[in-house]
Symmetry: D4
Subunit: 251 residues, 8 copies
């Protein structure tokens, strides 16, 4: 963005731009205000990835409005997370979205060919963690990553995990998703030699406290290379994993 500012300043110097116009540009350009939301149109330039719409707590109409604004500004590839089935139905009447019921994620546009450094492994402790895992997997795929799924490999039956040691050892990034006691992240963290993103889930009952047990467990992991995102935040893990899987030297 610095370059962009510099260009504006140079345009002022060169008389191509008035001071007031420059001021206006600096302030109003990067997003469009559609009342209930300020749609960010420069994020791709600024951060290298397309915009994502967080669907929770937005009506189908609001989502359609934001999506329309994006399309009108040339953004074809858009991911929508936490989109209810009904909203997806409504939305699909206007936009050609691809919707996945398990992850509750949808997208428009073409999926890019995977071009990351390696593969992202998405592992879960149990079957109930799968919706969160799918949110992570769909997100990672959307941002151009190849994804390997290892579901139901919780530590209470260690052989299930150990039989997949090879996939874990070869992974570029591992996303370890678990509720209850969340031990999966530590065990994978001890096996893998790549960054591990731990996602606590709200799966469990009693003293799991909707994910607190897993969250605290993961934050205290004795394994190195493990970091944590919010409870049930599959999107955040998938996004970050994709970012890491696309690391390269900046010019």
């Amino acid at each position: 963005m610095k370059t962009e500012i510099k260009t504006i300043l140079e345009d002022i110097r060169d008389g191509k731009l008035s001071v007031d116009d420059a001021l206006f540009m600096l302030k109003t350009d990067p997003f469009e205000d559609i009342g209930y939301a300020k749609v960010d149109l420069h994020r791709k330039i600024r951060q290298g990835f397309p915009e994502v719409i967080y669907g929770a707590g937005k009506t189908a109409e609001q989502i359609a409005g934001i999506l329309g604004t994006m399309k009108a500004n040339g953004q074809e590839r858009v991911l929508i997370t936490r989109l209810g089935e009904e909203s997806a139905e409504t939305l699909s009447q206007t936009f050609p979205i691809v919707y996945d019921k398990i992850s509750k994620a949808a997208y428009t546009g073409e999926l890019p060919s995977p071009d990351g450094i390696g593969k992202i492994v998405v592992a879960t402790g149990g079957t109930s963690d799968v919706p969160v895992a799918e949110e992570a997997a769909v997100t990672a795929r959307f941002f151009g990553n190849e994804v390997t799924r290892l579901y139901d490999v919780g530590v209470s039956g260690l052989h299930r995990l150990l039989s997949h040691k090879e996939e874990i050892m070869k992974a570029s990034v591992v996303i370890a998703i678990a509720g209850m006691e969340g031990a999966l992240a530590s065990v994978i963290g001890g096996l893998a030699d790549c960054p591990v993103i731990a996602v606590p889930t709200s799966v469990g009952y009693g003293a799991s406290y909707h994910g607190i047990a897993a969250l605290l467990s993961m934050l205290n992991s004795c394994a190195s290379g493990v970091s944590v995102v919010n409870i049930d935040n599959g999107f955040g893990a998938g996004y970050l994993a994709g970012m890491i899987n696309h690391m390269e030297a900046k010019k």
Copy 2:
């Protein structure tokens, strides 16, 4: 104890005992009141194990008083836990105690020959958990159990634990002791086919919250056969493990 009550009742019926005396016996017999404590003298009869003195928060004088009362009533084998070094010093001038600095446990009398069903394995996640582990081990040994120590086998280096899989598989009871994320209990719970007693420790920092992370993790263990005692409660684990290791049919 029922038998005892019945004897008293029969003695009343048979005129061997007056009603008031019986009432007195029922109420005052099983312990001796030495002011600051009511020393329980019937627990051995009632529960099969000798009395233990919990040393924390008691002065050396108070402990000596309780110990003296026990001895005077014929109880030779007494365990004292959480005994500070200074108190141990003081106590050792009057009583022939054996004191262990790491576990802060002491005992009087002869250690019994181990006569349990099998061996009790005491495992820890790290080096800092050892004091709690020693409290458990000394307690278990005091109550007649053979103990195998597996220290520093935390899950972040899984091979350290897996190389001891045999001891774990052969154990009669396993005591799994860990701070931080407490994942050790779940992993051992998945490997072992015997009762696992999990002891969270206050080892850790930040979001370990003095053992809460490990406690919640252990309570939510996805492995079956795991139960939990209080944070840092090595004694409780050792005592219970000994009880389980001496299971036999009651007459």
Copy 3:
């Protein structure tokens, strides 16, 4: 399991098995992957007990799939916990399950003759704790234990509990189940001379915080021989009690 590994290694040495096949066996054999779950088929060998399906958060179809895989692999006796009434209805059309509405547990196969060391007593503080108690009782019975039920013996009317002192004194293991202040575990812990497994329940209101009060109370029990499982975890308590009630020397 060690023996099994050794057999495989010996087969390699003897040329009966290729290295790659051995590697495959070591990794893939003990469970079957049916997509949404990895069905554990060796647990019985590894841990001495048949597999249990935790029904919460699984659809009737998923449960049927897992059950079918087990049956196909010769596992006749299967316990299903936390099974909703509707799912039970669906399931019963394909499998000959026995379903209990109060505990929400079901099983297939014949119940084994009780062959434990003694009896397991399941005690509750109040009437509302009964569903958790029944989950414990059904589980214990399923794993071959004789069960005695003592319901509504909470400490606020101590005589109700004391009138059953004999059952408690004669028990092999006691499962003490209570919500609210959870004092039952401590009082029973003081009476019994066997392992006591405390189960806090979410019964109560206000400052009971869905079981936290009982959980903390039980973890801090001043009685020895008491350990704790997760809130409402009747299954865990029943399973562990059964394990303890079948203690015997390993060869």
Copy 4:
């Protein structure tokens, strides 16, 4: 106090008092401002009991200042709680205080003859709860109550408590003091037919969380007639017990 206000108003009507003077009286009379504290001189009239100085967080000089102001206003009988030994030493050079090291309470003036309805029983779960119990006992005695002490009668050895059932049944009020799991309050609540004031103490370790476990346990007591004061608040319990033990019809 209403009568007092009415008198002032009548004095205005009768011309005995100017409006401004009345306003002043209404506002400034009931306490004396000595800078760091507003010493309440009317509380005895207003509430039937003499003033108490809460010593914690006050210097010996501040306490002496408050005490002096009280004496100068004719208040001979004053209780000082949470008074450190050093402050007590300093204070005793100026005032004839009676100081008790265990409860850390002191008082000036004569103790009144006990004139309550009955006896107040102060019971503790263990030896470590005694300082809190003594604060309660000294306070109750200071306010004219006869006190019976039952220390170390925790529920893990129920017979110790049951052997004192008679004192409990005959009590006017029972103060039940316990740390750890705090079950004492519920058990006494079930035995007694008088008000039970529960005092959680910070005695314990690990998941006792400095009294939270006992506090929650006591708040959730399934026994009727039990209410709770703050953790370690022996004074509050002794004061309230004394109030209840002096109940009588108001004119």
Copy 5:
């Protein structure tokens, strides 16, 4: 109860009773076991008040069963709390209950003439606290107390409370009921010269955390003579207030 035990013992001595029969009486008499509950029939003798049925979590059938057992044993006056409207409807077809929709309490039998020492004041901070207040008021009335209601006198409009200072000053016991910040208990505690029972309610939102804010506030009250019961526990407060309002010397 001691007398009762003594009688039994004397009967044994006098040959009127066999030992086994005595044992049976001691154990089985005071309650009747109807399967899902152990109905306490001696509580009135033991504690001076009739039995109360806590209706929450019990079916109309279970409540009817308990009620029937009581009636069959001669207990005419029974209070039922937390009784849903539908259950009340069902119950009223068999028993002549008086039901109050606001407090959700019902009773059978005649209300006794108030015979306490004085009046019990039930005060609330706001309108939303009224259901809890009515549970307290109905309970107190049921146990023979005269009740004065002061509703919506929260501290944010202090004059509303101060205009009722006289009722508060004359009360025998005050029940102070408030949600949100719970300051009412402290302010009343400072005004009243009688025991104040504080009841936090779950009224509020955000950081009130369903009554925690009020609960903590009340436990920390800087006024003396204040004790606290569980959140929303109107019954407990009414029962205890009635107990205090009937204080008299025991023989």
Copy 6:
């Protein structure tokens, strides 16, 4: 109010008022008791603002009753917050209310011309915070303030906020409303040179714990001039902002 009291006292002195009548006025005048509520009629005099009805937990009938009492006493301008749509419907049949569905606020009477010192800026982190923001905005407008809305200016896209730096710099008071991590308050606090009222919202999931994360974040703001109100308390923020925006020297 002091003047008012003084007038009453002077009237007594001058014989215009009897003592009893004065007593009555002092106690009963400032509110009207309509059974379920004590309607405060002097608050306007006492605090400079008209009464507000907090609609949550009140029936349409109760609100109508309070509103009617106010109107009967001459209070035309009344704000009702947290009013459900159905209740609004019912109410509108009797009273000419203006109702806003988003903020769930209604009012009767004419809105006053804005006469504050400057403008109040209401800023939100996201779209989901808008209902809370509208409650704040409507409240502020109701009390005579001009309001500028800046919605969806959360810190993850800092340019959206910075492009509105001018409005923030010129504001008289800023209300910063955000859920999730609540960073908005700190960032605005660092930019603005006026009081900032932070409102945490319950927007978010997982470790946001219904607003705790935002609440703690805002309380710990490293920016000066920031204070905090309860979670989702738009009304409180709007009311306080209006108060500050009308600051003037008192005579």
Copy 7:
């Protein structure tokens, strides 16, 4: 600051400033980097108040370095909060600071004449809250406000507070400081017709949890016009009160 940016832009346009120099100015000017801190030199311009040094966690040397940088840039009037006595001693050897031991605050330069709208009242519940109160008072005075202190006016002796009703009614802003149950803020909030800034303190014990009880209580205040700052944050309250007491229309 906008004007400042505009000036820079105009200077570019007019050829008075090169683009790179402008870029440099925009980025580096407003603070000076002295290694361990970035000293903010434009805050006065940007926010209307001089810089304050938060002394906690900084060495005397670091504070001296920051102070020296400020002085070197012409900032004479500097406030230092949370300054330990030893650091103050050290600092006073180089700088002419005025230090107050109770509040632990120091300042350099001349105190300005009070020129606010009215008076700021600083009220505390007890004597132990005074250090926090003095931090607030010294801060308010430093920023040009007249301060009235009302200490030890807690709600348990309501008359102490009510006798100062006039000061409260006449205040421009009230800072209500209390630990324990924090009810002072609500009561003052109900009396005052000006903004009330509530400061919870860590004064108390047991269930006060170092200020949580007071904090929650204050956040849930049922009085309008009350906002809250962090526990023990006297500075924040004094600063904000001063800001409100200097409200005036912006040009």
Copy 8:
């Protein structure tokens, strides 16, 4: 590691290795047991990085023992974190360690030339966060990364951060370290287009609860690409950042 296992298996097949020897190798080789610790000697092979000794809770003697074992096995480059000054002193008498007092980290061996993808930026909110930041910076440097430090750039003075926007935009990984409200992570997360590792610190007071406020804030960050490690865990952040900064395709 798979390769290693395969080699062993092939050696068995080829008769180079007996079954028992293979079994021994598989189990005992990768670490050396020195009693109080199991020193991991294969981690470098397994995970690509040398071993790190976590110094907290270990005596100088224990650390020396572990270090010696490593050296004896050829590991020259070792990092020791959380090493007290005294232990460092002791250790330096035997080993040529380089010790840094601020970060409390030490290392032996040569620092490698930085060979990562880009630069790692370590940013802190304030001066008090510097020790944690230095632990991160020293760790990252130890593992071959170039580090840029941006200290004291907290969001309350946003221009301090914005003036370093270029370093942030160019970073390969940013470590955002902050206590109090922890908003720094979100703001940097919104600016940067690389992975951001957030480290909450225990810096703060009152409602910061030793880092909980910052931790929750960071977990709820509305910016994408942000993950979190434990409170004060500078090492974990530095290690993970280094791992990400060395991402490359696996063969």
